[in-house]
């Protein structure tokens, strides 16, 4: 048969036999979306990109909470009698077709007046009329075309977030003033005396003074504030000499024009502030599509269905859940509070919370913990606690989440600035006292000149530009760091702790091993056909891993929940499932997940599931072991212990059955004995550990979906390059040290002019930008040299 792909979503549609309009579709969902689009003249969608869509998911009842006006009110950005504006996050936005269709929503529903997509943030802002439409209608409309929005507890405070653009304003003011002051300074650069200058110089000088006011009092205010704070807590940070230099520049320049002695240094002053702000701006690299601040709120639903005493259903907000409430959890929904199962068959996936890879079955009367995901139909539960008091959410009340990691970390720049400031002050004092004796009129001039020329602009720029550039290079290589300080801390790390499930193992891939009597061809066909009917996750993964066989039609098929499946074809019967179910009694204690098979009531053997480790894992560990202490902290059981010991270097420490708090405590303990810890994890269960560690990196299979709060996000495919990222961070520190040396040379040249009392404004105006620019060039070239090579490493690992 010819291989066909779905016209809408691009998945395989060879077997589906759904043909509409001469196009083949993989399922009815995709066909329906196509029908909607073609009925509304929106098939352009398919011209912009091949198969851009996704299959719409069943959402029945899922958005009933949007009937609750209190919840809706919190989600809306704007609301009056007729119009509402809402911004929805849609994870599926990925191509230009998506932008096109979402901005043409008004063609699908007349009540939508406009919609604007922000591609980077994957959001759509919709403006709609509420007379015949509602937010619930909008969400249903979006879901029906495969663009289901993601609404979580995090959105509850939407509309209150203000974008902080103050740095751009400050930079704008500084560059505006810098440019104008430069122009106004030009006449006096080239002509020192003469009729023209004498007549017009005051006008130019006072204009420069006016332009410099917003620079000093607005653009530079952060440096003064930071220097003041530093001195108060007795730390000579880099902002102290900067603020000192800027203040002296401004006061001396003002004094010069007031007493008509000279033109002042307004050009250098505004240039200095401009370059410093530019460095700050460059250091900020924001990934709009990533969030580093997620906590449980991003995972939890906003609303949940509550069953009232008269058996009617109502939607309430999760914060309103009280102890004793009866709740309805639908298929694929997250359990928001600790509760007791009352009705229904629960299969809970706790991988979010504990890192355990297998879903667990629960009987009524069992306790369920918040954060689990129901996988098997609807269940009814009784709430035991409120959201904030639940087992998982309590983790966030730990004070590591309110601490700012950057506090208490002395950056390289601040470390050097202490010595630098003392050195500059002593040079200034020595030079001034010399001049006091030889030529007292020049003493004040020399004192201020030293402070001006020693203003550590270049030193302050070295780190922002080095780290800022490396941040961008890392971003291109799919390692997204939150800010520059993360790279600096990464270079100082000496202990690396890994989570197991989802971090060193790949989430989706498992390998299966068969032990037992060989199966005949008929038996294999029967096995495969039987598995085909089952929706159990183990059946699905076993099914996809078995070789292709002819599919036979089963005579009988029965599924025993929690035990296994049973089927019959002609004379042969088969049982697949747990050991007792298939009649295998001599079960050996194994911690790994296994599926047992028997045919015609005769035991055949078992399929054992093993975690599949990421490519290049042992190579990476062998590289890292020379310089780092390696630890694995797993929330899973010890089933893989033997496997891991074989795979990893002997000195790697392995710990199993670690609860989220255990991981946090382990890291804390080691930090207290002086270790600098890098934690690499993936799930919510690692959130505490990621926050406690010096650097927390979250591994993500798909960076657009969720990862817990962390300092950096690493794309799973780049996991084996971790060593190179750390190495590049270390080289960055070296670059910064060389830059310091370079800027010290500039300072020495400047100091020569300053202490000899011959610092003219034009020298300062040349020397300052020159030193800054050469530092920028130097760091940019060097960071590109040390950057991890993206292609060569990929090849090195691809042959594994």
């Amino acid at each position: 048969m010819e291989h066909k792909t779905c016209f809408h979503c691009g998945l395989d549609s060879t077997t589906s036999e759904i043909i509409y309009d001469d196009k083949s579709f993989c399922c009815n969902g995709c066909k329906t979306v196509y029908e909607i689009f073609s009925a509304n003249d929106l098939t352009c969608y398919y011209d912009l990109q091949n198969a851009p869509g996704t299959t719409p998911k069943e959402i029945e009842g899922k958005y009933n909470f949007l009937d609750n006006p209190k919840i809706v009110e919190r989600l809306l950005e704007f609301n009056d009698e007729k119009t509402q504006i809402v911004t929805l996050y849609i994870p599926h936005i990925h191509c230009s077709s998506c932008i096109w269709i979402l901005e043409n929503l008004n063609k699908l529903h007349p009540s939508v007046s406009s919609s604007i997509v922000n591609f980077g943030k994957k959001t759509v802002r919709v403006n709609y009329n509420t007379e015949h439409f509602s937010l619930k209608g909008l969400v249903k409309l979006l879901s029906s075309i495969g663009y289901e929005p993601f609404i979580s507890l995090d959105d509850y405070s939407v509309g209150k977030k203000n974008v902080d653009r103050s740095l751009i304003y400050k930079l704008g003011v500084a560059s505006f003033a810098f440019g104008n002051i430069m122009f106004l300074s030009f006449p006096e650069y080239f002509q020192v005396s003469g009729f023209w200058i004498e007549k017009y110089a005051p006008v130019f000088r006072w204009l420069m003074f006016v332009f410099s006011l917003p620079v000093v009092f607005y653009s530079a205010q952060d440096y003064f504030i930071s220097a003041y704070k530093g001195i108060r807590s007795k730390i000579l940070n880099i902002d102290v000499p900067i603020a000192l230099g800027a203040a002296v520049l401004f006061i001396r320049s003002t004094a010069e024009i007031v007493f008509n002695i000279g033109t002042g240094f307004f050009d250098s002053l505004s240039g200095l502030i401009f370059f410093l702000l530019l460095g700050k701006f460059f250091q900020q690299k924001t990934y709009t599509f990533l969030s580093f601040e997620r906590d449980y709120k991003s995972y939890f639903p906003i609303g949940i269905t509550k069953i009232l005493s008269d058996n009617s259903e109502t939607s309430i907000q999760v914060y309103d859940i009280e102890k004793g409430d009866r709740l309805l959890i639908r298929n694929e929904e997250l359990i928001p509070v600790d509760c007791i199962l009352i009705k229904g068959k629960a299969r809970i996936d706790y991988s979010f919370v504990t890192g355990e890879s297998e879903a667990v079955s629960k009987q009524s009367g069992d306790k369920l913990f918040a954060g689990g995901k129901q996988l098997n139909g609807s269940i009814e539960v009784d709430a035991l606690k409120t959201v904030e008091q639940s087992y998982l959410t309590q983790l966030w009340s730990n004070d590591v989440f309110s601490k700012n990691k950057e506090d208490g970390f002395t950056t390289l720049t601040n470390a050097i600035s202490k010595r630098f400031t003392i050195a500059v002050l002593s040079i200034a004092i020595v030079a001034t006292s010399y001049w006091l004796f030889s030529d007292a009129s020049k003493a004040l001039n020399v004192f201020t000149s030293v402070l001006i020329i020693a203003c550590p602009c270049a030193i302050a720029l070295a780190a922002p530009f080095t780290f800022g550039n490396l941040l961008r290079i890392f971003g291109k290589l799919k390692f997204y760091a939150k800010n520059a300080s993360v790279i600096e801390q990464l270079a100082a790390v000496d202990t690396i702790i890994f989570d197991k499930t989802g971090t060193i193992t790949a989430n989706k891939e498992t390998s299966i091993e068969y032990n037992g009597l060989e199966l005949s061809e008929d038996e294999e066909a029967l096995l495969k056909s039987t598995l085909r009917n089952s929706n159990h996750p183990l059946s699905r993964s076993l099914y996809s891993l078995l070789n292709d066989n002819d599919i036979v039609t089963l005579d009988t098929y029965e599924e025993h929940v929690g035990k296994g499946i049973e089927a019959q074809h002609n004379q042969d019967s088969i049982k697949i499932g747990s050991a007792p179910f298939v009649g295998y009694t001599s079960e050996t204690a194994t911690l790994n997940t296994a599926v047992h098979v028997s045919t015609n009531n005769k035991y055949k053997g078992s399929f054992t599931f093993y975690n599949k480790y990421r490519k290049g894992l042992s190579k990476l560990f062998n590289k890292l072991k020379k310089e780092y202490d390696l630890v694995i902290l797993s929330g899973d059981n010890a089933g893989e212990k033997e496997n891991l010991t074989k795979l990893l270097p002997a000195k790697t420490k392995l710990f199993f059955n670690q609860k989220p708090e255990d991981k946090l405590e382990y890291i804390k303990h080691h930090q207290n004995s002086g270790a600098k810890v890098l934690m690499i994890g993936d799930g919510l269960n690692d959130a505490g550990a990621l926050a406690q560690s010096n650097v927390g990196i979250a591994i993500s299979e798909n960076v657009n979906v969720f990862s817990p709060a962390c300092d950096a996000i690493l794309d799973a495919t780049k996991f084996n390059q971790l060593y190179h990222f750390i190495k590049a961070s270390k080289s960055a520190i070296k670059i910064i040290k060389w830059s310091f040396l370079l800027s010290l040379i500039y300072n020495c040249i400047g100091l020569y002019f300053a202490v000899t009392g011959q610092l003219a404004p034009v020298i300062a105006a040349i020397l300052m930008p020159l030193s800054s620019i050469s530092i920028v060039v130097f760091t940019t070239i060097c960071t590109n040299i040390i950057a991890p090579p993206s292609l060569s490493i990929g090849e090195e690992y691809s042959d594994e």
Binding site: C44, D47, L48, Q49, H94, S96, F119, I168
Partner: protein, 64 residues
């Protein structure tokens, strides 16, 4: 009055004009999303019905 004052006034007024335009643009969020408008401006042609031409947008690398 010397011509220099007029020239200075004009130059400062023009500079302030651009400065205000920049501040207004930032305030309205024009710099917040630098990618979507670049795609959006290419759509106008596609809206004309009947067999729209496939543009460079069909390339895979348009994905972010």
């Amino acid at each position: 009055m010397s011509v220099i004052y007029i020239l200075l006034t004009i130059s400062i007024v023009v500079a302030i004009g651009f400065f205000v335009a920049f501040i207004v643009a930032v305030k309205r969020g024009q710099f917040d999303d630098s990618y979507t408008p670049s795609v959006r401006m290419l759509f106008e042609d596609e809206l004309v019905k009947d067999k729209p031409e496939k543009t460079i947008l069909t390339k895979e690398d348009q994905q972010f």
